[in-house]
Symmetry: C2
Subunit: 498 residues, 2 copies
């Protein structure tokens, strides 16, 4: 082996341990949201901080710069996998060395604590209890962004962590292009003469969880390498052979549990579908949040909320639950896809969902740029919500306290949800061309053919390509918001008999 | 602050992060035994190995030697807490630097893998499937012991990890002194004309777990800082504000679940009872396995299996379970304490328990010294068992595959169980002198007065004193096997009407 190839091997061995420790941090995060006793929160924040310190020291280890310089001159770079590994390590290293260790540790410590405070505050609708720690989180993220941006836009620097290649300007332009058609569709649908009926009744937790497990199975979730638990805010966690999901149960609204589950199954299937050769390497995780969200959203919406799959679900629910006021599969399809101005993003229908995201995008951009003070956030949220959705926010748990993201420091993350929807719209077109009988499978409660196509064309690549590139390669055309908007208009105009 | 006191502060700050990372490793271990999806085992062993590598690098960091040299000359040493911290760090450092990093990592990796293989092998009574990895574990532990012993006895070097100050010779001498009285008691009891009745019936998992939770509460377990889950082999895990316990359920034998729970509650109460000022310092964990076991065993036996507490349990079981063939509290007390030659150590009665331990002590000492080959272990185990217990081992899951310990590399650990029993015997004498009405509390299902006395006299000290010293201070007399043997003879002669 040449010295240069040796440097690549050393770098990858070092990186492998770092990736393994990153998985450990992810597992701790999962534990914190699902299993940890409440009284352990303070201690846990020290544990997380210590682990974050180790990870930061490794990710900024000066040997990485030396190994990179040598390895980038090596024969190995001719190999696309090696080239992609080096590209990821180079980018991560360049980011990490810009952030001082104590700042990274403070962020880990404060966000770990903030999540507990947020959960408490949310349960009591107590904005005041959350604001001081939120201000601390924002201040730390701004400091971090300033280190990263080096004179550039702070918010762009944060977006780059979740969606390499995207900017507030490019996302904002896309959102501007989407908004008129979404607003028009929303208005048409809400004003339609025909309105589908709602699901009625009470649905026991155990039965919901059993059905959630069966839904995960229907989408091909690998139970040997995952598990399903309850959490305040559903999430998925882990890569390689340990990708866990969570959901929540609302007795009056089983769709909350079911579609959260299918959504997280999409995320987990992406991680579990990555080429096993990439495990514990930079390519062994989803390439960006937007592409990740494309998987969760196509599972949840284009597949899980389609007429074919909901037909099967209707039959399942008839055998599992006592009366819910819907007697045929078309009415059930209508109830699943009922459009209304709700307060909660994660419960929003497909027409409203992106409007929730666009609002958060504007608010958090203002918070990070310093144009909006934390003390004004609740009022600004509520004003904007009334303007966009036409209803007043009744309490903070249905307003600015609803999402976990900001307590975790996830600023710049929300726009990737809509980007994911846009990518899902593109992938749906390509999937249906490639597997023309997919609805026949879905009508039998079997989404594994869709998982297989997505695994082959998107998931298995992990971090091999740039985010937008992997979607373009899978679709065979340049991704844009058009297919999503066409799909939404066709679906909801038919459903609302417009 | 003087330079020497500064060195102490730096050392303790560094140590605090190491302790936090040690807690993370403990949490990963807990996850592996309770929550981890089966298919994640291989990846998990890489994660554990990476974390073990980090811990080893920290524990052998050359700066520790410098800090120690300066700090040991500091004013701080006049403070007994600082002196104890330095003593622990000095001892740990001296041990750690003797073991090469790659060996420590290999041990972490192999034992992580071995636990999965053991669990599989045990479920299929498949000794052959377990032997190759067991041989690997033993070989690695022997290599480690050789590094530590530096010409001394290999097995002593391993014992020292669990019970500083104890040796095979001192433990062997104590076991030799105990054996004749135990053998005589066993023989008298098994030959007694009166034999208590057995518990009969089937006891559902959910009802057992509800009762287990109430038992933990009765002993003062702090649910805000702990939780109870199922595991193949019950264990407790974690220090500070996160001390979790596990149990198992056998439908025909609820005592298995109940007394495993009480036992692990004893361990967890020890950790949770340590002075909060010691959290994430070397004093913030139980001082030795023997002292740990003294807490779990006094909870389980002298308190939990006493006439007073079992009287309350009888009432509870009458209201929770349909018929179990015992109609009065004395008969129930007899069933709880029934003596018989069983195969499983963790299910053994108080008379047999230490004989199980003595057998493992002899076998593992021979394995580590190289006097017993792994290939001969099953036959040797079975021969020895037949000689000591008078019955033939029917299958390996009831013989050499029953305990998780060896798969974890825990050689030198078993004797601390009997040392813990001996200490529990001493503490029971002192507790009953200090709290003369303790049986009145226990008869009401309330063991919190015992927990309070143990917390004040043993638990809160954490690692402040040497193991034997903390027991001596609590008791006010020199610990010995006498009180345990007196207690056993009095209890079982009365119960068996001898």
């Amino acid at each position: 082996m040449s010295a240069n190839n040796m440097a690549y091997a050393d770098l990858m061995a070092f990186q492998r341990e770092t990736e393994a420790l990153g998985q450990v941090a992810g597992r701790l995060g999962w534990d914190q949201e699902t299993m940890m006793p409440r009284g352990a929160a303070e201690q846990r924040s020290e544990e997380m901080s210590a682990l974050e310190g180790v990870l930061h020291a490794r990710r900024t280890d000066p040997r990485i710069a030396e190994w990179l310089a040598q390895a980038e001159a090596a024969d190995a770079v001719a190999d696309p996998v090696a080239a992609a590994n080096l590209r990821h390590i180079r980018r991560s290293y360049a980011r990490q060395v810009k952030v001082p260790g104590p700042l990274a540790q403070a962020l880990a410590r404060v966000t770990s604590r903030a999540q507990g405070i947020w959960a408490e505050a949310r349960s009591r609708d107590d904005v005041a209890a959350f604001l001081p720690i939120l201000a601390e989180v924002i201040q730390l993220r701004r400091e971090e962004a300033a280190c990263l941006a080096q004179g550039g836009d702070l918010y762009d620097a944060l977006i780059d962590d979740y969606e390499p290649g995207a900017t507030a300007a490019s996302l904002g332009a896309m959102f501007d292009a989407m908004r008129p058609r979404l607003v028009a569709l929303r208005s048409a649908v809400l004003g339609a003469a025909y309105q589908p009926a709602k699901l009625e009744g009470s649905f026991g937790q155990d039965a919901q969880m059993r059905m959630a497990r069966d839904l995960a199975t229907a989408f091909g979730y690998d139970w040997e390498r995952g598990r399903l638990d309850l959490a305040v805010h559903p999430f998925s966690s882990g890569s390689g052979d340990d990708a866990r999901i969570t959901t929540r149960v609302v007795e009056s609204d089983p769709f909350n549990c079911f579609y959260s589950t299918i959504h997280e199954v999409g995320h987990a299937c992406y991680e579990l579908g990555i080429d096993p050769d990439y495990r514990l390497t930079p390519l062994g995780a989803g390439v960006s949040m937007g592409v990740h969200e494309s998987q969760s959203r196509i599972y949840e919406n284009q597949l899980g909320r389609g007429r074919a799959f909901t037909g099967w679900m209707f039959g399942q629910m008839q055998t599992r639950f006592d009366g819910f006021g819907l007697t045929d599969a078309d009415a059930f399809y209508g109830a699943v896809n009922r459009v209304q101005s709700g307060f909660i993003r994660t419960e929003a229908d497909e027409v409203h969902y992106n409007l929730h995201v666009m609002m958060r995008f504007d608010l958090e951009r203002a918070l990070i740029r310093g144009d909006l003070a934390v003390g004004d956030l609740e009022a600004t949220w509520n004003d904007r919500f009334a303007a966009d959705f036409g209803v007043a926010v009744p309490r903070a748990s249905q307003g600015m306290l609803q999402d976990v993201h900001w307590s975790c420091g996830l600023f710049g993350y929300f726009p990737t949800y809509t980007l994911g929807n846009v990518y899902a719209g593109c992938l749906n077109v390509a999937l249906r061309q490639a597997v023309p009988d997919i609805d026949d499978h879905l009508a039998r409660g079997d989404a594994r053919a869709a998982t297989a196509w997505l695994r082959e064309n998107v998931q298995r690549h992990g971090g091999l390509y740039e985010p937008r590139e992997v979607v373009r390669l899978a679709c065979g055309f340049e991704p844009s918001e058009g297919p999503l908007l066409d799909y939404l208009e066709a679906k909801f105009k038919a459903l609302y008999r417009l």
